[in-house]
Amino acid sequence: MTGVLAGVVLLVTLVLALSTALLIARRRLVPDLPVAVTVNDRAPFESRFGTDLLGALAAQDILLPAACGGAGTCGQCRVRVRGEIVAPMPAERARLSRAERRQGMHLACQIRLRAPLTIELPEAILGARGFEGTVLRTRFLTPLIREIVLDAPPDVTASVKAGAFVSLTAPPHDLGFDAIEVPERFSEDWAELRALRAIVTAPVTRAYSIASTPADRRQGQLVLLIRLALPPPDRPRLPPGAVSSWLFHVKEGARIAASGPHGDFRAQQGTREMVLVGGGVGMAPLRAIIHERLDQGAPQPISFWYGARRRDDLFYAEEFTALTRHHPNFRFEVALSDPRPDDGWEGRTGFVHVALREGFLRDHPEPEACDYYLCGPPLMIAAVMGVLNEAGVPPGRIFFDDFGS
């Protein structure tokens, strides 16, 4: 009996002693202190010891793009930390180049506040803010791409530069694909998708490029092109994309939580010839850039090379053809990789990188004197990078927006 009692007393005392020791250590090591954060040259604000910088900034309405929600995988929440270089976190090593790290670049989601900190952010990001957009209208452009036009606050649309994107947040939802209204002409493509179901239990945020023309922006409209993210063909049992599925369900009048504008994909100023190459929803930022430059009266030649599979996947074609009529310096070329016999297609066929090589790079006197803007599926970007490299275009003249993260 005394043995059992002694054992119990011993264990209880030990656990109490260990817990007390840990509590004291914690109090010492993780004090509940204020920490000052300074952004650019503004007045510092206070946050608490141990919070992550991304969250601390968000609490001040400084919304960095963060498509991965702080997991350290999207690499969008970049900040430059002034002062001494801090050892990079593993996620930062994976997402930031050596040169960037040497300049003090960090991922805000990986930094925990422990001492006063001064960071630099592009002024454009400080202009970003949270807002609510109202869905004005929607339409299907291709079987899997939906155009959504959002009515946004005028100060937001006014601060949009072509190439920027907004972050949209989908609330928790459970939506069957049988509820999506699909136009008659695409019903065949949709037959197999009806069984899919998107179930999301916590809010999810994703980035979508703004396709608005300057005229759209003046009307306070954000045009977004959403591609439905389907499960990969070899793993059909996976759920469809969380946010894109939800965006295929939203109806006119719905309100969407958003923040922006974000991003640094931009047209270079100056008069270098511009070549834009895109596919799929890569159309979005390229459309914005083309309209903005032509609207500004850019004098240089601008050509837009767009790759699609078949006629059904091609959209906005009339709009760009019309642009070529008004702007002699603008050229629009489409390559269909897999046209159907009944498409009646007489234009270029094959992949867009081949079309670019045969129809542009080969006969151009100075391909290295142009600026290249790429946006589209990762495979397409890689192929185009390949032909540009072959043609001797230095990497510094190639700008691309990478959706694949």
Partner: protein
């Protein structure tokens, strides 16, 4: 004393002679810098927990240990494992706090393997061997630190070899874990050679 230190580091190397803590050994040996960090963490945890456990064992658990409060007939040594694990758990949590505060990059790099040290068999093994071999508290200090150093040495050498191996032209199927197991085996063979030195 020197024999104990020598045994702890080389002949009785926890990783390469007893194959204790091999899960962490294989998982956290991709990068030399991370392995170095983990190695130091293990030395500290081992260097503290073994002596503390030795003390607890001598004063509270061993048969007859409680004679100082007049209960010489009580034997609490059956509580050994739960008490040792409690001490190890507290020590690892302290380690987590310390690393998160002062070496956050290492804290992140170790990820879940840091808390997993709590149930790392090398750590508990260190304390249990100490009891089995009836080390006195001073010897326990030497054994604790020594076995920590031994384990650290093994993982650091292993990580350095693995970093080199990344550039080796190995057959497809052996890249990664396959090669790692072979290297572990060869290193263990090498360490068994120290057994000859000890005599």
């Amino acid at each position: 004393m020197t024999e104990i230190l020598f045994a702890a580091i080389l002949t009785d190397n926890l990783a390469l002679s007893f194959f204790l803590g091999i899960c962490t050994f294989l998982a956290v040996s991709q990068r030399l810098s991370t392995a170095l960090g983990l190695g130091i963490a293990v030395i500290v945890v081992q260097g503290v927990t073994v002596p503390v456990n030795a003390l607890i064992h001598a004063v509270l658990l061993a048969p007859g240990a409680l004679h100082w409060i007049g209960l010489p007939e009580i034997d609490l040594s059956f509580l050994r494992i739960i008490v040792f694990i409690g001490v190890i758990a507290a020590m690892v949590q302290l380690m987590e706090l310390l690393l998160d505060r002062f070496v956050p990059a290492l804290h992140r790099a170790l990820g879940v393997f840091l808390p997993l040290i709590t149930v790392n068999c090398a750590i508990l093994g260190g304390s249990l061997f100490m009891v089995e071999r009836r080390y006195d508290p001073l010897e326990a200090v030497v054994w604790g630190i020594g076995s920590g150093i031994g384990w650290a040495l093994a993982i650091i050498a292993f990580a350095a070899i693995r970093e080199r191996l990344r550039y080796a032209d190995m057959p497809e199927g052996l890249r990664g874990l396959g090669g790692a197991f072979i290297v572990t085996g060869l290193m263990s063979l090498g360490f068994s050679g120290f057994g000859g030195l000890a005599q």
